[in-house]
């Protein structure tokens, strides 16, 4: 009987020992390690530990093992990781974690010295690097193929084919063409694509003597658009027909711009409207007013939220990548067409990878998903 009671008591003691030790003042964390945060600019050191308990811990740091430690941050024991972003590059630091347990302050063993270093590559972006190199390589390959004189097929894009017809209509009716290059600045690639189509349209209006107006919301785009139209008239041999007020700046406010342009449409009743570029909520206001004014409308945008509005109100709509293909399609320059083929090749590769990923997921393998994860 005595032996049984003693055994039970011993087992109980062994089970309670960790908790008793904790109550007497051992830290809720153990195994503290510190290392230079990988793939960063040398401004951070990462701490990692095992959680033995719960509760808050203070992150203490010093530049010498036995020196004075300062508090640099707080964490929970359960977090198991902490990033110290207040370090200087190249300076060696020592770390310890402090917690208050049973009224006593308990420190882990000190770890260090560890110094933060600037890294030359973000490892988490290896996949993006490969994709970027592949994209550049595809452009290079197809441009080289195009330069060798091989004919490259690009399918018909109805909206681009209709540009000549639309300009012709305005010429016959003796009415104006409105060209709206979107509301974003030159930093938006859609705007640059729009300016390349503006060049083509301006060449036509110069040749046919059609009136064109290009109202702008962004001052940078206004400057670029004016140069584009001026150059188009010069190249067409009609520099005297170019007028400064063909290209105007209206206002930076989105809806004031929409109000101004729609007012012009109602007053001047253009024969043709081009709305090509990046648009937001004003897209339907512009397109519906143009429709009511009786204009033939060609729109183009890569903003998926505005595409439905253009599709329902315009005669032709360039969807997403069709807008970016415009300059190549209209000029038929082999080098530009080569880059369109590169884009198509990249899409084919991506579709193949996605199809493979879907099949592998059906077999519980997420290797493609992990491969495509970006950070």
């Amino acid at each position: 009987m005595r032996r049984t009671c003693f055994s039970i008591f011993a087992v109980w003691i062994l089970m309670m020992a960790p908790h008793l030790a904790y109550a007497q003042g051992s830290a809720p964390v153990a195994g503290l390690e510190a290392f230079d945060t990988p793939s960063d600019d040398g401004s951070s050191i990462t701490l990692r530990w095992e959680a033995k308990g719960s509760g808050p811990v203070d992150v203490m740091r010093s530049t010498s093992r036995s020196g004075e430690y300062e508090l640099v941050g707080e964490a929970l024991a359960a977090d198991q990781v902490f990033g110290d972003a207040t370090v200087e590059e190249g300076v060696g630091y020592y770390y310890a974690l402090a917690s208050v347990t049973g009224g006593d302050t308990v420190m882990t063993d000190v770890t260090g010295p560890v110094a933060a270093r600037s890294n030359w590559f973000r490892n988490a972006r290896k996949n993006t690097m490969v994709a970027t190199i592949v994209m550049f390589a595809l452009v290079g390959v197809y441009v080289a193929i195009a330069r060798r004189g091989k004919e490259l097929y690009v399918r018909k894009i109805a909206g681009l084919n209709a540009i000549d017809e639309a300009v012709g209509r305005a010429t016959e009716m003796g009415k104006k063409i409105f060209y709206i290059p979107g509301i974003m600045s030159l930093s938006e690639i859609q705007t640059i694509a729009s300016l390349s189509i503006l060049k083509y349209v301006s060449n036509l209006t110069a040749v046919y003597g059609t009136d064109i107006e290009v109202p702008n919301k962004d001052p940078l785009v206004f400057s670029a658009a004016r140069e584009t139209v001026r150059q188009a008239y010069m190249e067409s041999g009609k520099p005297d027909q170019f007028k400064e007020d063909m290209v105007t700046y209206l206002t930076y406010d989105q809806f004031a711009y929409a109000a101004s342009v729609t007012a012009k449409m109602v007053r001047e009743r253009p024969a043709t409207n081009f709305m090509i570029g990046s648009f937001f909520a004003e897209s339907l206001i512009l397109a519906e007013t143009g429709q009511a004014a009786g204009a033939i409308q060609i729109a183009g945008t890569a903003d998926v939220t505005q595409l439905p509005f253009f599709v329902t109100t315009c005669d032709y709509t360039l969807l997403g990548e069709e807008l970016y293909a415009a300059s190549a399609y209209l000029s038929r320059e082999p080098v530009l067409l080569g880059s369109i083929k590169a884009q198509d090749a990249a899409k084919a590769i991506l579709m193949a990878i996605m199809a493979l990923g879907i099949v592998l997921l059906a077999f519980d393998t997420d290797i493609i998903v992990r491969l495509l994860k970006t950070r």
Partner: protein, 213 residues
């Protein structure tokens, strides 16, 4: 030279952020941050260009008494008043906003913007009436999906169908709609990448106002 310098600048300024995306080193990210700030400064300096053009054009309109010239006076007066109180507010005010600027913003700019945005409700109605006709199979599918989503977004849909409309509408948004949106986003992103590479490498030059030769 006139043609070469912009192309070289475009290449350098275009390639650098791509390089900085992969290289976190402090010296590289420092230059990248400077480039970001430079873009903001250039855009800010472009604004006076536009304002000068706007003022010049409207003054010309008033001088020549062209059609609508009284509205040009209204435009210039509005520009002057808002600019004056805006600048005074920054220079003198505690909060950076002059009280008159705030009153003008709250009572004129804000309601006008809200009104223009509200026009969409009317235009959506007229566009939907005109465009949503069951001309063929695809148009019919579009029509049915639009009605389901419209009914699913309002309480009437659930009231009429015993709570079935919202889940059906959510299914359309989460499955076919999300899939189609992703397809267009991926295609547009590849198109943007291809166009950007053309611009960076100097293959695409129309934005400079010059054709390739």
């Amino acid at each position: 030279m006139r043609r070469t310098i912009p192309l070289v600048l475009t290449f350098l300024v275009g390639m650098y952020p791509i390089f900085a995306f992969f290289v976190p080193h402090a010296t590289v990210s420092g230059v990248n941050q400077w480039l970001d700030k430079a873009l903001v400064i250039v855009a800010a300096f472009a604004l006076p260009l536009g304002v000068v053009n706007l003022v010049g054009m409207n003054l010309e309109k008033i001088k020549q008494r062209r059609a609508g010239w009284p509205y040009a006076i209204v435009l210039l007066a509005g520009l002057a008043v808002m600019a004056y109180f805006g600048v005074i507010g920054v220079i003198k005010g505690d909060t950076g906003f002059h009280p008159t600027f705030e009153v003008l913003f709250e009572s004129m700019v804000s309601p006008l913007q809200a009104t223009m945005f509200s026009l969409l409700a009317f235009y959506v109605a007229s566009a939907a009436y005109r465009a949503f006709r069951a001309r063929n199979v695809e148009a019919t599918i579009l029509l049915v999906a639009a009605i389901i989503v419209m009914m699913g977004r309002i309480p009437f849909g659930d009231m009429l169908t015993g709570g079935r409309m919202t889940p059906l509408s959510e299914w359309i948004m989460n499955k076919p709609n999300a899939a189609a949106q992703r397809g267009i986003i991926i295609g547009a992103a590849l198109g943007a990448a291809s166009m950007s590479i053309r611009v960076i490498l100097g293959i695409e030059r129309t934005y400079l106002g010059k054709s390739r030769d």
